[in-house]
Every structure is written in C-alpha cells, then in structure tokens.
C-alpha cells in the first residue's frame, strides 16, 4: 500500500472546509451530496461522513494497475462504514466531468452540495504541449454550468499546486482585468503589475482562480462568495493553494448579472497561509486597489 499522504497542513485545510460546510449548509447537514476527489485514503470523506448521505468519489488510479487505488478507496469506505454511501467513478475527474460519465459508462448525476476538486497537480495544465485545451479549467466551467441547471446553492472547493502558473493564460487574464478596471474608471496598472512581477506564483493564482470562478458563475446566474484563499505546503513540501467558493443561485433576472464580488474585492482579498497546521496572515506586500469614488 502507498505510504500515507497525510500532512497537518492539509488537515487544517480540511477543518476549514468542514467549517465552511457547516456554516453554509447547516439546514441540510446529514443529507448532503458530495462529488470530488477524495483519494484512496478518503480523509475528507472520513472527516465529514456524518454530514453527507451520498459521496460520488472519482479515482483514476495509477497506470498500469489503476484498479489498486480504486479498490483501496472502496475498501476504506467499507472500513469506515460508508460503503453504501460511496459511489466510485473510475477515471480522470476532468474527463468524467467533460464527458458526463466515467470510464465504465457510469453517468455523473448532478447536482451536488459540495464539490471538492482536490487536485494534486496544477489547474492550468493543457491537453498537449503548447496551446492545447486547458482541460481542468474547462472541466470547472462545465461543472458550474451543469450545476446551474438545478439552481441549487453549493460549495466548490478547489486545491491545486502551482504547476503551469507561468502559462500566458494568467498574464493575459490579469492584463484584461487591468483594462476592464480602467474602463470603469480605476487605474489598476500599478497593482496588476505588482501581481505580474511578484516573485511568488501563488499571488497570481490567488487573483486568477476567484476571478475565473466568479465570471463563470455570473454567466449562469450564480453569485459567488470567495472565502480567503489558503496557501500551504502539502505532501512532500509541494506548494499548494486552496480555494473555497459559496455559489448561490440568483433568479432575479434571466440575463446574467455582473459578479457580485467586484474586481476590487477580489484583488484586495487576503491570503491565509497554513504553517505546521496553524493559520497565519500573509504579508504579500501587494498594493491595495482603491475603489473609484
């Protein structure tokens, strides 16, 4: 069996996510449905098992013996008395989301109350070298759009490392953001440049991911509330980020609304760092953006 991938930092992230679930979904605790990547150890599922009645867990396994991790996931479910609650979808989660079914043809049935995309890699991976499709971002987009069909409120948790953060996608998006703000009377050049030139990749991701989710959600008549982004060192000291979004359906107009969270709010939002399992404030030395008067 693979060595345990448990870290205290990751546990703190799970605790924070658990609090977020309890805060936003308190009326339905015990009956929630989960979709995500729990890994064969299923630490998050174990922590939250009393809150959920359904777990749709995706596991692709490791080639060539993909069945091993998939088996371990179900074995963990049995050992933790939730075998009947867990449904295993086999395959790559992005493929499962984009195709609506797993490698064995089992359908992905929406909606979910909590979605945990706990990636071990980066969010900006591309299908092929160069300009291939950014399948993870496409999958998140698809997921938000599919969820929107059911008009229910839900939580979206995304974790990823910083792979591919040099991708032009981020730079171009941040520059677009700068232009957009200028159009509305805010000169954000200094701030955006500070983000673009910052030595740490995580600051750019802190801005990019909430912006991305907000935009997609707004396009489906959803409001998105972003909780403070978390940075932490994961398994084997991998630099990881975690995002928590509370998405609520807004039925007031048929036309999509502008995101409720303003660009200024997203830019100025703080980032929390978890060190040895403890949350600390970070000082990224980024200029704050002033709201236009």
């Amino acid at each position: 069996m693979a060595p345990s991938r448990f870290t205290q930092n990751k546990q703190t992230v799970r605790d924070l996510q658990g609090e977020t679930i309890k805060n936003h979904l308190k009326g339905r605790l015990g009956n929630l449905s989960y979709f995500g990547l729990p890994s064969d150890e299923m630490k998050d599922i174990m922590d939250w098992k009393a809150l959920f009645s359904v777990f749709i867990a995706v596991e692709r396994g490791i080639v060539p013996n993909t069945w091993e991790r998939q088996y371990l996931l179900m074995f963990s479910a049995f050992m933790n008395d939730i075998l009947s609650k867990v449904t295993l979808l086999r395959g790559d989660i992005d493929k499962v989301i984009l195709e609506g079914r797993d490698d064995d043809g089992n359908a992905l049935n929406y909606p979910f109350d909590v979605i945990t995309l706990d990636y071990s890699g980066g969010l900006l991976y591309r299908e092929k070298e160069g300009r291939g499709r950014q399948y993870r971002l496409e999958a998140i987009k698809e997921l938000i759009q599919k969820q929107a069909g059911y008009k229910t409120n839900y939580l979206l948790f995304v974790s990823s490392n910083l792979d591919n953060c040099k991708d032009t996608e981020i730079k171009n998006t941040l520059l677009n953001l700068q232009t957009e703000l200028l159009r509305y009377g805010t000169d954000a050049k200094e701030t955006i440049q500070a983000y673009l030139n910052h030595e740490k990749d995580e600051v750019r991701l802190k801005l990019y991911v909430p912006y991305f989710v907000n935009q997609i959600a707004a396009g489906c008549n959803y409001n998105c509330e972003t909780e403070p982004t978390i940075f932490y060192l994961g398994n084997q000291d991998t630099r990881m980020m975690n995002f928590r979004f509370w998405l609520t359906y807004d039925p007031r107009t048929t036309a999509p609304r502008f995101p409720r969270e303003s660009l200024v709010q997203i830019i100025n939002s703080p980032m929390t760092e978890i060190k040895e399992g403890v949350c600390c404030k970070t000082n990224l030395r980024l200029p704050k953006l002033q709201r236009p008067i």
Binding site: Y71, F75, F78, M79, L83, G105, N106
Partner: protein, 502 residues
C-alpha cells in the same frame, strides 16, 4: 525426470463457468463464505447484533463485504488453492473450496482483503482470472498448479488485531455476466436464496423465527444490505396463520428429526396471486436449495397445482442430505430419497387441507347462491311477474338447489372431525334447504305466477297460436331458461298492452 502434472488449466474453466449456468449463483457462493465467517464470529464473540453482509454493485465491479471472523495467513494461502477447504461440512454452508473460484467465471480479477480477529495483519489476495483464462484459451496446456501459482498473489500489511473482516471485489465483470448488474433481479435472487431475516411487515415473522430457533440447531439469519438497502425474505399477501410440521426419518417413536416445515395458507381462493412467492422451498442452513418448483416436483405426485396454495419453507436437518454444487437440488443418495419420501406427508396434509378448504368454499358459495335465488324468485312472485309458462323451470331450479345443498350437507355432516367452519356451514346449509323446500311448496301451488290468458281474452285460435309459439320457444331455449323466461315475459307484456281490454 521432469515433474509430472495431473491437472491442467481447462479444469479451472470447467469448474468455474460450467458449474453455474446462472451467474447469480456466483454471488451466492461469496455470500455463503461471508455467512460462514459471520457465524464463526458469532460463536466466538457471542454477539447477537451482528454487522450486516454488504453487497455493493458498482459497475464494472461487485463488492461483497462482511465483518465475520476473517482469514488468517494459512486460510489466505488456502484461498488461492482450488478445491481445498478447511470448512466443516456440518457447521458451514460452503465446504468444497470451489465456490470462490466461481468468481473466475464472471470477473477479470478477484481481489480479497481479509483480517482475522486477533491477528495483527491483513492479507490481500489477488486472483488474476483473466490471465488464467487467457492462458488456458491459448491452448498452452499450462498445469493447473503453475497457472494458479503464477496468477494469484498474496500480500500482507499490519492491521489492528481486534479488527476482523473480509472485503471482496469481483473486478471488471465480464460482458457475458453483465446480467449481474440487473440490480432488481439480483436483489430478488438474494432475497429468495439467502438466509435473511423475515420482513418485519410479515405478521408472523417473529413467531416463525422463534419456532425455527427452537427446532433447528444453530438456526441463523443474517442481515444483508444490498446497495445500502436492508434485504428480507419475500412473502405474498393474504396469508393465514402459519402451521408447523416436523418431519422425522421414520415412524418410530425415537426417529430423528430430518426436516422442519412451516407454511401459511392462502386467505383467498386457490393459489396465491403472487405466484413468485408461493410454494414451499427447501432450505439447508437457511440457504435455499432449488426453488418452489423443486418441492412441487418432488412432493406433489397428484394435484401439483395445490403446491402453490401455500407458501413456506422446509428446513432440512439431516446432514446426509447434501446440496448439489449449484444448489438447484440435492445430491442423489438414500438420505435425499428418504427426505423426499417423508416430506410427501407435507404434500398430503396440504393437499387434503387445500381440498377441504376448496369444498368449504364451494359449499359456502352454494349457500350464498341458493339464498340469492330464493330471494329473487320470492320477489318476482310477489310482484306477479313470473309467467306461469316457466313454472316447471322454476320448480326444477329449486329442486336442483335443494339437491345440491343436501348433498353437501350430507358430505360435511359425515366428517369425523368437523371443524367449526364445517359446523357453521351445516347449520346455514340446513336452514337454506328448509326455506327452499317451503318455497317449492308455494311454487307448486301456482301462487304468484302471472297468466296472460286470464288478463286478456283470446279466442281459441289465438290461444292455439300462442301455445305453439311458447312451445317452440321452450324447445329452442331449453338450455337457457333465463332467456326463455325473459322472452315469454316480454311477449306477455306486449300482448297485455296490445290487447288491453277497453
């Protein structure tokens, strides 16, 4: 000299797929193992509230899990062997050591993780069924020994010594076995065949369970969850209170009990409407052997339809009566023949009971019909609407009714041990026969009949014409007296209206 081998791979193929034409038997084999493990744990722990056996269907796999005693290292090794078992024929349901290999017929891999109580290790066994079958199919004639050794693996890891369980995945169910993913059919099969508790909705669940616990040594029913749903034995609706029948090996006073039967009759007439859940089923260690047709075939030589007037179970206690590998029947031996022969008593009792109930129902129906007939006739005579021309028919009808009731009265009164129902029928029957006789006298006196010739004036010729018509009708409609009566009444009404005296 090269090592000599005496068994080759194709044996595995024959044993795995040839044994079980119904793929669901494979699942039952694994449930049997789980059942034995749970029972062993029950014996050691004395626990009464045991964790259920869990079955989870997750395409492309099927998982079977239990918190039974688990396997130690030796048993985990043996699990890889073919046809070797450490199980006790008397105590356990499975004992041949080939049931687990039936998984080879349906799945590409069999993966088992197990930990035995008080053994601080867990063992994982992987049987690569697909590789074994591929190698056999390639015509390489690999010795069985080599095939099993090469394609099965055993590994171990530390485990908490108090934990005890077995977790099985039948991984990648083959296309030709995809019927196993028909959850409704599989669930139905498990409900009929596995040693499940009775449904709490079944009124006599507790009573029967108690009786079985008292009369069957080590009787056990184990909870099972199928995709999270708790399963129970099925039962039809409209059943009567259960009755019990012990079956002894011979008629001597000290003859051993070889089977114990319970059954419920049908509240309604004849066979249970719920055909699938009617009839008797043999059970060994509470697992079904064959289905309701096996008891019908082996116990009912006459009136086989009466086998389904009841539902129930025959729990076989004689250890010499051994289920066949696929559990569709018993192994052909003397013990089985004796079981069948002795159990025919059940069929006799049930057939007799069915016969009695059928006679009572018919008698009851006759009394009801007679009452209805008398009531109707009486009403019509009071209203003066019965034509005098049908008087012979009415007399015949009443006489036949009296005759029928008296025949049934006579038969029922002559019973040696009449039941309360019989006595009640005799009383009601006699009263109806008496009123029918009284009524017949009234009919014979012509009182209440209508005569058209007294209502209108007909000359001799007209009367002759009328009589000819009536005679023709009587002749033509002798087989349908109801219609005859209606036509004559209508003719008379029309004539009365047409020839009404001014």
């Amino acid at each position: 000299m090269a090592k000599e081998y005496f068994a080759y791979g194709s044996v595995l193929e024959a044993l795995s797929s040839g044994l079980y034409p119904d793929k669901r038997h494979v699942i039952r084999e694994f449930v049997q193992n789980a059942f034995d493990a749970v029972n062993d744990w029950k014996k050691i722990s004395g626990e009464q509230s045991l964790s259920p056996i869990e079955i989870r269907i997750q395409k492309p796999s099927i998982f079977i899990a239990d918190r039974g005693i688990g396997m130690d290292e030796n048993q985990a090794h043996i699990f890889r062997y073919l046809g070797y078992s450490t199980k006790d024929r008397k105590e356990d349901v499975g004992f041949r050591g080939i049931g687990k290999d039936s998984g080879v017929a349906v799945a590409e891999k069999i993966i088992v993780t197990t930990s035995r109580y008080q053994v601080p290790k867990r063992y994982t066994i992987v049987i690569d069924a697909q590789k074994m079958l591929d190698e056999t199919a390639s015509g390489r004639n690999t010795p069985l020994e080599e095939l099993l050794e090469k394609n099965t693996a055993l590994s171990e890891e530390p485990e908490i010594s108090d934990l005890h369980y077995t977790f099985v995945e039948l991984h990648n169910i083959r296309k030709d076995s995809h019927t196993l993913f028909d959850t409704s059919k599989l669930k139905d099969y498990l409900r009929r065949n596995c040693p499940l508790p009775f449904d709490p909705q079944f009124t006599y669940a507790d009573e029967i369970t108690q009786r079985l616990k008292t009369n069957i040594p080590n009787f056990s029913a184990i909870d099972m969850k199928f995709n999270g749903e708790k399963l129970y034995k099925p039962f039809p609706s409209n059943y009567l209170r259960p009755e019990y029948e012990p079956i002894f090996s011979n008629d001597k006073e000290d003859a051993p009990l070889i089977a114990y039967c319970w059954y419920c009759g049908n509240k309604e007439k004849g066979q249970f409407a719920d055909k699938d859940n009617s009839g008797l089923v043999y059970r060994v260690k509470n697992f079904a052997v064959g289905d309701r047709h096996l008891t019908r075939k082996t116990l009912w030589s006459t009136t086989p339809e009466r086998a389904f007037y009841f539902f129930g179970e025959i729990h076989v206690l004689n250890e010499e009566v051994v289920p066949s590998s696929d559990r569709t029947d018993f192994k052909d031996n003397e013990a089985r023949d004796n079981l069948y022969q002795r159990c025919q008593r059940i069929a006799q009792i049930l057939s007799q009971r069915a016969g009695t109930e059928s006679a009572q129902r018919t008698f009851d129906d006759s009394i009801t019909s007679a009452k209805e007939l008398l009531g109707l006739r009486e009403k019509k005579l009071k209203e003066n609407v019965t034509p005098i021309e049908v008087k012979p028919l009415v007399e015949y009808e009443i006489r036949k009714t009296i005759e029928d009731i008296e025949k049934r009265l006579d038969r029922t009164s002559r019973k040696r041990n009449p039941s309360i129902k019989d006595m009640e029928l005799v009383q009601r029957g006699a009263a109806v026969a008496e009123s029918a006789k009284e009524f017949l006298k009234a009919v014979e006196s012509k009182k209440g009949f209508s005569d058209i010739r007294q209502q209108i004036e007909l000359n001799e010729q007209a009367e002759q014409v009328y009589q000819v018509i009536i005679n023709c009708l009587k002749e033509e409609l002798s087989s349908d007296p109801g219609l005859l009566e209606r036509i004559i009444s209508n003719i008379n009404k029309a004539m009365a209206k047409f020839f009404k005296r001014p």
